[in-house]
């Protein structure tokens, strides 16, 4: 049975990564937010700057009662958080953490990720509908409209990268960017790949419902959006999925534009172990950017959000993809 054991280990590593990362990033988010806001944040639990607070929070969530509203659709209500988390977890299968580790080396890796993360939409819609709460439904409708709209600029900007690389395999895309910082895709076809990255980053913020696009969860309007009625571990699943998605889109940014697990100094500090370090730290950098944005900007309105997607990002990415395509042919 060594094959099954292998598969099990390969699938467990991303899960372990998500869980440890979530605990760390919860702490980081609160600490960054606190320092942005001129306060201290966690200070007591566990000693040094309240490092154990996220663990305490997790234990609290685990021990909380599961409340299902009387008029909720019980099956869908239970299924929704599982689908949301499972789809973002499944996407990790195609993320190359380093040159020697990728849970599943698909030759359509990036396509698979785009496809599987679309399941999140179904989960969110289920959650909103099953809760039988008007605020939840509003949140779910907004969320679905938003994610579906922003998938287009995301996909178009990824397509632009694929024109450059000629492959959908994420491991090969990383392989192509070997040999130092100037081989990274972001510096190809200047400045068009940089524009592509900006489009991707903006659209990915909307995909993971982060400020300024956190309209589905708009606290001051919709209480908590689609997860208003959720408690305990079910709520934690949504939360976990959100943070997992944050790293997922950041990781894709790192792979598609910033060399993935490659060292920025060519051969220096490269190798499988350093690969993990480079990939994770590049990913965390973009997560950090998302956190900083969240605590700086107000949120847009639903129609303004749609405007940004359909009238700004989508046309620009069409023009962009044509220019890069022409350039690639003429070269």
């Amino acid at each position: 049975m060594p094959e099954i054991l292998n598969m099990l280990i390969a699938s467990l590593i991303p899960l372990l990564f998500i869980l440890t990362y979530a605990i760390v990033i919860l702490w980081v988010e609160i600490k960054v937010a606190s320092h942005v806001q001129d306060r201290l944040g966690y200070m007591y639990t566990g000693g040094f700057h309240g490092w154990a607070q996220p663990i305490a929070d997790l234990v609290k969530l685990l021990t909380k009662e599961h409340i299902t509203p009387v008029s909720a659709d019980k099956i869908l209500f239970t299924l929704a958080p599982i689908i949301v988390f499972a789809s973002s977890y499944a996407a990790y299968a195609a993320l190359p953490f380093t040159s020697t580790f990728i849970a599943s080396n698909l030759n359509v890796g990036i396509f698979y990720i785009i496809a599987i993360t679309s399941f999140v939409v179904i989960g969110i819609l289920m959650a909103g509908w099953a809760s039988n709460n008007k605020y939840s439904l509003f949140g779910a409708m907004r969320s679905v409209a938003q994610i579906v709209s922003y998938e287009i600029p995301t996909a178009l900007s990824i397509l632009t990268v694929i024109i450059v690389t000629g492959t959908l395999n994420l491991q090969e895309i990383c392989e192509m960017q070997k040999g130092g910082i100037f081989n990274w895709i972001i510096f190809k076809y200047p400045p068009f790949m940089f524009i592509t990255f900006l489009i991707y980053f903006t659209a990915s913020l909307a995909e993971v419902n982060r400020t300024p696009f956190d309209i589905p969860e708009a606290e001051s309007e919709l209480v908590a959006g689609y997860h208003t009625e959720y408690t305990g571990m079910k709520f934690a699943m949504f939360y976990l999925a959100e943070y997992a998605n944050m790293f997922l889109v950041s990781g894709i940014s790192a792979i598609l534009f910033f060399g993935g697990w490659n060292s920025p100094f060519g051969e220096f500090l490269s190798g499988p172990v350093w690969g993990v370090f480079w990939f994770v730290s590049k990913g965390l950098f973009f997560v950090f950017l998302q956190i900083m944005l969240r605590w700086t900007l107000p949120r847009l309105r639903v129609d303004q959000l749609m405007y940004v997607s359909w009238k700004v990002l989508t046309p620009i990415s069409f023009v962009n993809i044509m220019i890069v395509g022409l350039w690639a042919i003429l070269k």
């Binding site: 937010a33 942005v36 806001q37 001129d38 306060r39 509203p69 009387v70 008029s71 039988n132 008007k134 605020y135 439904l137 509003f138 400020t211 300024p212 956190d214 309209i215 708009a218 606290e219 001051s220 309007e221 209480v223 605590w295 700086t296 900007l297 107000p298 949120r299 847009l300 309105r301 639903v302 129609d303 303004q304």
Partner: protein, 385 residues
């Protein structure tokens, strides 16, 4: 549990659609307390808004009649507009003093001006901070709180309380200013403009913030006057009316300051951004007043004019002051032979300003309603009394 009315008719034909009633509050993050709004919505578009108030009703006016004397009403007044308690005390005390014909010493008047203006800054800081919060900007809220904290510290060293002061008494003040007050006040006056600039950079002139507030909830000047709006609501619509200038009380006529009005800089005159910006600029004007008042502050005894027994002659009085939220007026009737008021009526600015909400929020989206409600800046303690 409320469910949706879904009509199952043929999709091909005329699909019957209906408006939906959405209940916002009394427990909702952006209704600033316990306001309940019944929204009739068509999708995300608001067809009608019906505010339901009274969740915080504490029978203030009846309580005031039941007190054994006039002084005992002051702590109750504090609890009306609880983020601007000094202003409330001031209005009530001035009304009683007018009824009794008490002349208070100059020092008392100056200190009252300083306190009222500090309170105005604190109250406006809370207003713009929570307004940012309503629109999803969390950080300005805490920056505003940091600055408000400094004002509350000043109040604390003066009278021991941070929120509900019972500081302004009939005929005087409970305490004179402590010796370290001047130093701390000067420090605040020096650091506050910088902090205000930071908040402006982060929130006021943020592109997303302007997009969310400009041209939203436009309140034309004539509508504002017809509804009896006052304070930043009225001035945001371009009407230059401020009781401190138009009907000066205390020593306000001795100071130089401007009355900021909405100019429609980012959109239309009277939109949410104008109302918001009027508040920001009023803080700057209040700073000017405090600076001048501190320089002119005369020495004296703050207790000298406090009457032994407050028993106004038979009669009635209406006195109004410019509170942070608008015109706060007290109508007091004295029967002349008891030491408690026969009738006290408060004209609460928040209550009057709130009444214009349905008028200005029709046709906007739910997200805009939050912006409009925030720009009205209500305090439910005052709306319900």
């Amino acid at each position: 549990m409320a469910t949706f009315e879904i009509t199952t008719r043929s999709v091909k034909g005329d699909l019957k659609t209906d408006t939906m009633i959405l209940n916002m509050g009394p427990q909702h993050p952006s209704t600033h307390g316990v306001l309940r709004l019944e929204l009739v919505v068509d999708g995300e578009i608001i067809v009608d808004v019906i505010p339901h108030i009274g969740y915080l009703h504490r029978c203030f006016e009846k309580h005031a009649e039941q007190m054994t004397n006039y002084q005992q009403v002051i702590p109750y007044v504090d609890r009306m507009d609880y983020v601007a308690a000094m202003g409330n005390e001031l209005a009530y005390v001035l009304a009683v003093e007018r009824l009794m014909g008490i002349e208070v010493p100059e020092r008392v008047q100056y200190i009252r001006v300083i306190m009222a203006e500090l309170q105005r800054i604190a109250s406006h800081l809370l207003a713009i901070g929570t307004y940012g919060l309503d629109l999803g900007a969390f950080t300005p809220f805490l920056w505003c709180f940091r600055e408000r904290e400094k004002i509350l510290d000043l109040f604390e060293i003066t009278c021991g309380a941070r929120l509900l002061y019972n500081y302004i008494w009939i005929g005087g003040l409970s305490h004179d200013l402590p010796s370290e007050f001047g130093k701390k006040l000067k420090e605040f006056l020096k650091t506050f403009p910088k902090a205000l600039k930071e908040i402006n950079d982060l929130l006021t002139f943020n592109k997303i913030f302007i997009d969310r507030t400009a041209n939203i909830g436009v309140l034309p000047a004539d509508v504002a006057i017809n509804y009896g709006c006052s304070g930043p609501m009225l001035r945001g619509s371009g009407v230059k009316f401020d009781l401190r200038k138009n009907e000066p009380y205390l020593v306000y006529d001795r100071f130089e300051f401007d009355i900021p009005v909405g100019e429609g800089k980012m959109g239309t005159v009277g939109d949410c951004w104008d109302r918001y910006y009027v508040r920001v600029r009023e803080m700057e004007e209040s700073l000017k007043i405090i600076e001048q008042a501190w320089e002119q502050l005369p020495p004296g005894d703050v207790h000298s004019a406090i009457p032994k027994k407050v028993r106004p002659p038979q009669g009635e009085v209406y006195f109004r002051t410019e509170n942070p939220r608008g015109e706060l007026g007290f109508y007091i009737i004295s029967d002349g032979h008891t030491s408690s008021p026969f009738r006290v009526k408060a004209r609460a600015p928040s209550f009057v300003n709130l009444s214009v909400l349905p008028e200005i929020s029709k046709g906007y989206m739910i997200a805009d309603l939050v912006a409009i409600l925030g720009s009205v800046d209500i305090v439910l303690g005052e709306v319900d009394r």
